[in-house]
């Protein structure tokens, strides 16, 4: 207990020292968020299991290690990046973050500047994007009152700004690699991005965390995305790391105009993985689709916390999260839906389905609906169980063995989420990992 305390104070010191050593020289929204972040972090610290939103995820145990919070390191080479580039990279924009900081030399931007703008936040705030940044950066803070969110805010000024220009459908998807270089020391990093998707624009975003080396890695990442009218955004997140890599990812989407956003969150392996996904539907008629698949084993712990905040009428949100949990792995699903007073005629659906493959696998699932409007359609449900006997018997009655029959059914269970990925190379990549995991071959 004493050791733990000293480690936690180490982390506080680490954050404070970094904050003192890398001061932000500007002012305005970036400065305000940074100050507010460090203050709140000092007050709140790292959440314990007493914090309602962290009840089932002991994040303090993850952070109870000797992390170094390094500045960007140049030790990562092109060859390092080559080792994990995702399929389809030949036609993708590749954005490489090293220890939390955008690394321009390792990145490849294929889209022209009249489609896609990529700038450090600290530069972008000085020009035409100032008001976008002022109005949106840190918007997620009001949905996450905890030290984890606050400690990223403290360094938000080191983040990256991206803009998809209005009327542009960006042909090259954005592949974002968040690399922690843990070859020499354990690394903590805090990537931060703000993306603005203009009117009538469309963009595909693929995000993956990567740890180099065998030391511990922790990524505390916040991506805020602002979606304007008639825009289409596709967000695919993949987590497939070793057990010494943990992370908290927060994707916070504001739909400011009638627009459509699809999100697929895949968790395939890792230490402790927390995925926060927020959809704030601020215009009438928005559509938000949230899909998730966690297929985990070993000691992996995966926690999906989602929020849909319906503020205006006639919106549709559709949420389906599925889990296949094996060995000692554990999962958490917490899905909150708010329907505000003005959000009449909202349709909000939520479903969480889990298959436990071992006696020691576990899941805590909790749907939460808070409805303040009286003319809405909302549904939620969750299932936890084993594979159904009927389909299993049907397959066996056709000569398919127990192992193969189970693999076939589990693959089909996962397939419902995988097919939501519209980038074929990414879908196939994820499918191959999952098929191998489940012993499925066709």
């Amino acid at each position: 207990m004493r050791a733990k305390k000293s480690k936690m104070s180490d982390l506080k010191e680490l954050i404070q020292n970094k904050f003192n050593n890398e001061p932000f020289s500007g002012n305005g929204a970036l400065q305000a968020l940074s100050q507010q972040g460090i203050q709140l972090f000092k007050e709140l610290g790292i959440p314990t299991v007493k914090h309602e939103e962290w009840k089932y995820t002991r994040i303090s145990a993850v952070l109870n290690k000797d992390f170094s919070y390094a500045a960007e390191t140049t030790a990562v080479s092109k060859a390092d990046v080559d080792a994990f580039r995702l399929p389809g990279y030949e036609t993708a924009n590749e954005l490489v973050f090293v220890n939390g900081i955008y690394h321009a030399e390792l990145s490849t931007i294929r889209s022209s500047a009249d489609e896609l703008v990529v700038l450090p936040l600290s530069e972008a705030v000085k020009g035409e994007y100032k008001s976008i940044i002022d109005n949106n950066l840190g918007h997620s803070a009001s949905y996450h009152t905890d030290g984890i969110n606050a400690m990223n805010n403290a360094f938000a000024y080191q983040g990256l700004f991206m803009a998809v220009k209005k009327n542009k459908a960006v042909k090259h998807p954005l592949y974002c690699y968040y690399i922690n270089d843990a070859r020499a020391v354990s690394v903590l990093s805090q990537p931060r991005t703000l993306m603005h998707v203009g009117v009538n624009a469309e963009v595909y975003l693929v995000e993956e965390e990567i740890t180099l080396g065998a030391s511990d890695s922790f990524i505390n990442r916040i991506s805020e995305i602002v979606v304007e009218e008639n825009a289409n955004v596709h967000i695919y997140k993949i987590q497939n790391e070793d057990s010494h890599s943990s992370c908290v990812k927060t994707t916070h989407v504001r739909q400011l105009g009638v627009s459509k956003v699809n999100s697929v969150t895949l968790t395939l392996n890792g230490g402790v993985i927390r995925n926060n996904l927020n959809f704030i539907l601020e215009a009438p008629g928005c559509e938000s689709n949230m899909y998730g698949l966690y297929c985990v084993k070993g000691e992996t712990h995966v926690d999906n916390h989602t929020i849909v905040d319906n503020m205006m009428p006639h919106s549709l949100s559709n949420e389906l999260y599925k889990g296949i949990i094996d060995e000692n792995a554990t999962g958490v699903f917490n899905g909150k839906i708010f329907v505000r007073k003005d959000a009449q005629k909202t349709n909000a659906y939520q479903s969480n389905k889990n298959i436990l493959l071992s006696d020691t696998a576990g899941i805590n699932t909790k749907p939460q609906l808070e409805i303040f409007a009286d003319d809405v359609k909302c549904s939620h449900g969750c299932t936890i169980g084993r594979l159904d006997e009927e389909p299993l018997f049907y397959l066996k009655a056709r000569g398919i063995g127990d192992k193969e029959a189970k693999a076939l059914l589990l693959h089909a269970f996962a397939g419902e989420i995988l097919e939501k990925i519209e980038l074929e190379p990414i879908r196939a990549y994820a499918d191959a990992i999952i098929s191998e995991r489940l012993g499925f071959e066709i």
């Binding site: 397959l395 056709r398 398919i400 419902e416």
Partner: protein, 266 residues
Amino acid sequence: MGNFQIFKFSNYMLSIKNLQARIEEKEILKGINLDIKPGEVHAIMGPNGSGKSTLASVLAGRSDYEVTGGEVEFNGKDLLEMSPEDRSREGLFLAFQYPVEIPGVSTTNFIKTAVNEIRKYRGEEPMDAVEFLKRMKEKMKLVEIDQSLLSRSLNEGFSGGEKKRNEIFQMAMLEPSMSILDETDSGLDIDALRIVAEGVNKLRNGKRSFLVITHYQRLLEYIVPDYVHVLYKGRIVKSGGKELALELEEKGYDFIKEELGESVEA
């Protein structure tokens, strides 16, 4: 191979002796005796609740049922000792009364997996893609099933008739030596019934055997059986030729009850 039970040589495809089975605490099969030779078509008729579907399920190896007595020999082997998948690999086929919908598993992939699992069991190489497609096309014609149906998820959103035709299609693809049709006619209109029956008839080759379970005589106008058995309260109480089916149709099951009133305990 710990079981050295030796069966007497017989020329039966399927030989059922005094088979008894229950589900939970309820006795359903109370001593079934039935012998089927290669090439024969047997029909089992009976009122609801007589144990028809239980017999089909027990033969296919559904685990909900507990066999409490008797033996079943299939091609000289002890059927009841085998797992459901091994029964299928040995050449037993059950056309389900209620085919299961399996979202996310395409019918084609499913059948390919089944065909190759059975081949593997027999020590054969997987079927090559060309041969597989050729056989698919041939058998699709047999049951008038469309390619678009087969690329969809297994039975998902299929009509009742499509599901039953899919069962017969699978039967044709797997070429079993012993097929059990569990109320394949239920829920079929006359056209679908005709297609299903013709599919079955084309598979008859003097070697393959069929056990056709049905409530109505109608199906047996199309699939003409060699023998008809009446199942009542878990026992075969009457056997005869195909004319027995007509008699049942005419007089209803009550005539069986009357005829056997004293000999069948309530």
